[in-house]
Symmetry: C2
Subunit: 142 residues, 2 copies
Amino acid sequence: MSNKTKASITDMLRASNLSITDTRVKILELFIDSNGALEHSSFEKLAGHSFDRVTVYRTLQTFLDKGIIHSIPTTDTSIRYALCKSDCSEHDHHDHHIHFKCEECGNTICLDETTVPEIQLPKGYAAHNIDVVVSGVCKECK
Amino acid sequence: MSNKTKASITDMLRASNLSITDTRVKILELFIDSNGALEHSSFEKLAGHSFDRVTVYRTLQTFLDKGIIHSIPTTDTSIRYALCKSDCSEHDHHDHHIHFKCEECGNTICLDETTVPEIQLPKGYAAHNIDVVVSGVCKECK
DNA sequence: TATGTTTATGCAGCAGTGTTGCGTAAATAA
DNA sequence: TTATTTACGCAACACTGCTGCATAAACATA
């Protein structure tokens, strides 16, 4: 990872009023490198057990609270997270893109260009957030 | 629950080549009565600990395999299940409706009348299934 | 650069969730 | 009614996520 990216990571943390620690920098690096969604166990594997499990949980929770990452619904018991785009903040959080889970490689990625369509709910329902998860085969595995 | 519904439950099981057992009948009753999505812990509560945990897990897995129920993505660690409509089968499974999770009462329901809109994926991606989960406030809690 | 304060980390331990193996009990087929 | 197949219940285990507390690191201030 280039120094330039490392510098932007510290900027990200500072912008959210978070102190710069090894764990936080490393986890953000993993998110940037992976270019997709990661679950908790991925960090333990990718970071080579250099961090305590609890630290990873707390770091992810902190990032969630600050709007740095968002969670992605799954039909299994793990929770997946991905980096938010720059237009998300602590108090105005939104995912306007859809998620794609590849059945071949198992990766989940954010399709940032693809917007969530309008959905007409029955009378009496108020929507705050819409999650769309498409499963299938990605362009790498095709 | 009426005898008529009980009869249709045994028909459902027979149609999927499943033997009729107390556990399976009771779990299907709970699905029908709840009219929404249930997670594993719900069965233990609703059924009053009359079944072993393992039996409930295995029963749900069997129903999933046979296309009797489907799983609903969540951003927590529990897996939610709901009854499939009659046009699902073991080999042709599909959810063409959207799911609504109420932030007030916590219930997740299937909006069967509301269809999933067309989604234009980037080139190279093939979609097999689309899950849409809308969160907000349901008409009961409004 | 040194120092005090705040914040994050690591460890131990706990609770909840889901799985596997195996002997027994129940359901179906004959 | 009996034989065979299938499901159930128990014990034990692995994995995931959380809390409390002592220690270590990061930051702000001088």
